[in-house]
Point group: C2
Chain length 190, copies 2
């Protein structure tokens, strides 16, 4: 039966819609995504989008999940045989670069930036999954203490948010990563 082909075509269109949505967000900001404009950039009518997504919020949801998956896959490509210090450096650097290379994605994933929208439970689960992955990666480096983990998230998210907000396209905070990691692993010594 042709169901598989139909399904594949449908999935391809969904992917194309999401890609266009990201492109639009990069041009005009997350809030600038409109159903007409989005559909127009694909050469289709706004009403056709509703055959693929339940509405605008569903599109944000799909983008949220996609963004989290991209981060998860990025994290999995990191080397793990560098020793604690260099692994942390690579991890932090990858995270900041991930945030800085796509600001709308950063805002969608980590800031509550869209008035009236919050991720659905399923979408939120993808964020939790990422957090758990980070937890496991830190655990492999011997970092299991809750406070140590919280301090790590504060440090990396602080570097990322400063980089994104105050020096996009630059590296003013990115280049502080080594210093930050050395500070982090050297803590609690007198």
């Amino acid at each position: 039966m042709a169901t598989a082909r139909v399904e594949a075509r449908r999935a391809a269109t969904r992917t194309a819609i999401l890609e266009a949505a990201w492109a639009l967000a990069r041009e005009e900001g997350l809030g600038g995504i409109g159903m007409r404009e989005l559909a127009g950039s694909l050469g289709m009518a706004a009403s056709s989008l509703y055959g693929y997504f339940d509405g605008k919020d569903a599109i944000y949801d799909a983008m949220f999940i996609e963004g989290n998956r991209a981060l998860r896959e990025r994290s999995l490509t990191l080397p793990t045989d560098l020793g604690t210090r260099d692994t942390l450096v690579a991890t932090a650097r990858a995270f900041i670069e991930f945030c800085d290379e796509d600001h709308p994605r950063f805002q969608l994933l980590f800031q509550h930036s869209i008035p009236g929208w919050e991720p659905s439970p399923e979408a939120y689960a993808s964020a939790v999954e990422n957090f758990e992955q980070m937890r496991r990666q830190l655990a492999q480096l011997g970092i299991t203490n809750d406070e140590s983990i919280d301090l790590w998230t504060a440090l990396t998210s602080g570097l990322a948010s400063q980089q994104v907000a105050n020096d996009p396209e630059g590296d003013r905070w990115l280049r502080l990563v080594e210093q930050a990691v050395d500070m982090y692993i050297g803590r609690e010594k007198p």
Copy 2:
């Protein structure tokens, strides 16, 4: 002449409008501020607001300036005779508490959270002024290096954003302040 009285009344109304805007933002989020709703909460017509502000963006601008002034004044009440370590602890703690006690204010001041709005040059100047004040305060503690300052802003803003986003009403990141400061001032030692 009555001009002074008139002017005072006008200023009072402006203040009342801003206060109502903050209240509305706390209830429904920054994006939830509408001219009708804002005016309604004050018992006036939406069109009357335009006698006091040029429009919605001007209201955001005034809120931005007011928020920055509140932060500046808060910073000036901090003790300065505690020694470097405890002064930094007090400073960081005050900053995180400032952010956590009013989330819309935090979003307005530190995140680009309103689609289509950015502070006017005058409003932005109030943010720059605060940054310069922080610079001076750090300088008094002997911290003048640009990278050290950037690392400090990353650390404190990271703690604040994690606290606000992931544990509002709690103190999960707030209570890491001492650890974070000790880590910060102990850095660069082998």
